[in-house]
Subunit: 357 residues, 2 copies
Amino acid sequence: MSAELRFATIGTSAICERFIDAVERTDGVQYVASYSRSLAKAHEFADKHHARLAFDNLDTLAGSSAVDAVYIASPNALHAPQAKKMLSAGKHVLVEKSFASNTAEAASVFACADENGAVAMEAMRNLYDPGFEETEHVMAQLGTVHAANLRFSKITSRMARLRAGNRINVFDPRLSEGALMDIGVYAVEPAVALFGVPERIAAAGVMGNVPEEPADSPYRLVDLSGEILLEYSEMVASIGYGKTYDSLIPCEIAGDLGTLSIRSIANFSGLGLSMHEDKGMIYDTGKGSETNLHVDTPHNDMVCELACFLKATGGDKEARSRIARFRQVTLDSLAVMDEARSQLNVGFPSDMATQFK
Amino acid sequence: MSAELRFATIGTSAICERFIDAVERTDGVQYVASYSRSLAKAHEFADKHHARLAFDNLDTLAGSSAVDAVYIASPNALHAPQAKKMLSAGKHVLVEKSFASNTAEAASVFACADENGAVAMEAMRNLYDPGFEETEHVMAQLGTVHAANLRFSKITSRMARLRAGNRINVFDPRLSEGALMDIGVYAVEPAVALFGVPERIAAAGVMGNVPEEPADSPYRLVDLSGEILLEYSEMVASIGYGKTYDSLIPCEIAGDLGTLSIRSIANFSGLGLSMHEDKGMIYDTGKGSETNLHVDTPHNDMVCELACFLKATGGDKEARSRIARFRQVTLDSLAVMDEARSQLNVGFPSDMATQFK
């Protein structure tokens, strides 16, 4: 391995470009190779981002001695097989969320990483944001937490294209996609990280038709937005997500001593703490006494997860223990999403594959 | 009947005093009588609020020719029997929320009102606030509504008393009380009024022990806070309520064209409209382009429901049609709450009584 961790990318979307921007802002890491199913597209993407290599064959990429790690930002259904191919060749993998189609698939990726002495980490960027740590720290002041309301909903122009009859990757259950896997995960994973495995789950969703999918296909419906309740003995967490509307209200974690508001769960920014003041029976709540908590979140906050990945691949103990913790969060969150999908009747082809493994 | 509608009150709590304040601010209505189980307390309350009469016997109150209407603010379990007693004597009743213990009980009260040619109305004040009408009006601009997040949670000093082992009316299932019936109703009723009867309901709650209640009692647990999902074909409404924490974030109703925020569902105040602007893939949502909608909500907004009640008892057609609409909302909302309570295992003695009627 060279002094710098040499990264390849799988995928050529906006999130991939954002990752490369994070690489450019980070010492000790270098962007060297692009993969696309189309070699022309791979070359074009590599040239644009000053990478030396371009691949259209995953086996060749896996066998290349010029690559140490791979950032995987393909459709969700491809994450696990691609990650395992790279891990088996001894490469580290940083895998965009959602890490895999389901819990069983994710477990098989982590097992493969362990067998090959390589690092597999989910690029769940908000868990690595400084605001997440600050939230954990501040929660101690809230008393017994009784409620969390975590939501991330952003309407996408892809909605109109879907309604017009276009088949879109992000709304295709055959690719293990849908609103929950694409955007809901931003709220589910912090909930599981902060509050643990829920005792009971209830999900409700707004569904859309998948264009060109036969009427008797198990993949003819996709979730466009939804709500999940995570029930614990002392609290209920309410998760809201959607690609059909913009949610503009802050998130909130509330205990019997105080309430923490979080402007955006996507990067844990805009934290505000309001301690409870007993004003008797009032009918209108305000935020008069909210204290803003200062957190320095980088504009491109993918540098945070990248920094941890880099340290972990370098053998840093603290980073390894952090990603070990978040590996469990990945697994437990996928279990929540498996159950939510089951309640919403959203099945993926990968569910069948892993079930019979 | 005199030129003025002469009101008696049942109850002597803060909400009762607020109602009397609303009476004093309203033309054509007069506060004349107080009822309490203790005659001394009834006299004291009557004197304080300049009422001429004081009762400690409900039959005597029902038989009094000096009283035209009764505002009932006793514990929920007493609402229906007291309302029916008054209606049967030809008096109109304005009944604090929750109107009755369950749907069947509420239906029996409305039937009794119809039989006696009297008005029975739930004092669900936020439905009568001008902000509710404005919300209905603005919803037309939101496009297809896909999500609503309505919440009302306020920690009460009674929580500490409950935890210390005191039996408290508002946390007593034997009185048809608990967080859902006391405070959740503020969010459930607008949801049902705005979006209709849900296709599916899922509830999760935080439960507390009822002091002095035997271990084998069906009334040993009370709901302290909770979340309810109302699922419709095109949307999910998420209802949050609690007496264990302060929720400080606004409510929200969101469609594919825009998002309406509501600072307080308790009186539908602080409305803000944000139309969707396509800014591509952004990770942080803001409220930069929110337009504040001006609504004049009276400081004591109970005058709004009182005005409608007064008109309805006077035979005004528009008011009668409005309370007929909200009568259905009361019934449909209680059906939602019956189902939520069933999922939370919160039963009331009245459930048994009405079941076998």
